[in-house]
Amino acid sequence: MISGSEFLRVLVASGFDFFTGVPCSLAKSLIATLEERGRYIAETREDAAVGLAAGAYMAGKQPVVIMQNSGLGVCVNALASLSLMYDFPCLLFITWRGYQGKDAPEHLIMGDISPTLLTTLKIPHQVLAKDSVPEAIRWAAETLKHTSKPVALLLPPGVMQ
């Protein structure tokens, strides 16, 4: 499993330099590392985080928005009528609750549709796996540069410490 600090190291090496979002337990080690280093802006809602990232991008940053997949539902319109429409790239780092139908009931429906929802939004995405995290982050950084639109990495349980 990858640690939050190692994950952040690869993100920074890939050019990401602005971090915001709404937490999930699956991403707690990454958020703890960001907070220790004073590099995390805790947002109130996922759509507001997408707005904050849009402003940060225009000001010259390469943003990452951390959220649980429940938050993907919250920010669909912000993605459609802001990020995708204006060509504002950001890395959506989305934790995948309800993965393979095994979770608390509130996560099951969104867990089932999360990748489909990203496909419907035409947001390129990959599912993170234990042995290929750095490659996936580099793929995301490259894809952002080519498309100037959001890219998503889905984090299932058991990949990050």
């Binding site: 109130t44 707005g51 402003g55 225009m58």
Partner: protein, 191 residues
Amino acid sequence: MKLAEALSIVIPLLRDELVVHANGFISRESFNISDRLGNFYMIGSMGLASSIALGVALNRPDRRVVVFDGDGNVLMNMGSLAMIGATQPQNLVHVVFDNEAYGSTGNQRTISGHVALEEIARAAGYPRAQRVDTADALRRAAPEFLAQPGPSFLLIKIEPDREERHIGRITHEPTEIASRFMLALREVPVR
């Protein structure tokens, strides 16, 4: 005071400020009065103008960032007032044109007639928050708000446009709006 009159008082005071506009008539009216390179017109994503402006302000502390917001937008994303209060960007001026209505969808009422948004901003941590009800009061307050450190919140009470008015839409493509704004961001501040 109507929206156009309020904007016509504030806009001539602008120099190199970056102005993030809420969607609807606020964007359209301002665009038709004076289309500036440093204007970002948020034509979708209602509620997020202040979040976008905060993202700019935090990363460019050398530039003054103004939000032209509306009461419907503020009510839709009140967490943003808390975010601005918590992060204290001194270069952010939050101007709210409050007509107590959703202007672009037919003037359906908002609840801002029952809720003092400037009091909420003050409680959220804006060191300066004020309400103005008349054009004269706006003429007195606006220059100070644009000059003093923020984050500040200026609530301008306006009347909704009751009669049907034709206000042209933004003619720039969204990606053009973004690239113009980013060009304005590259410039060195004049002050």
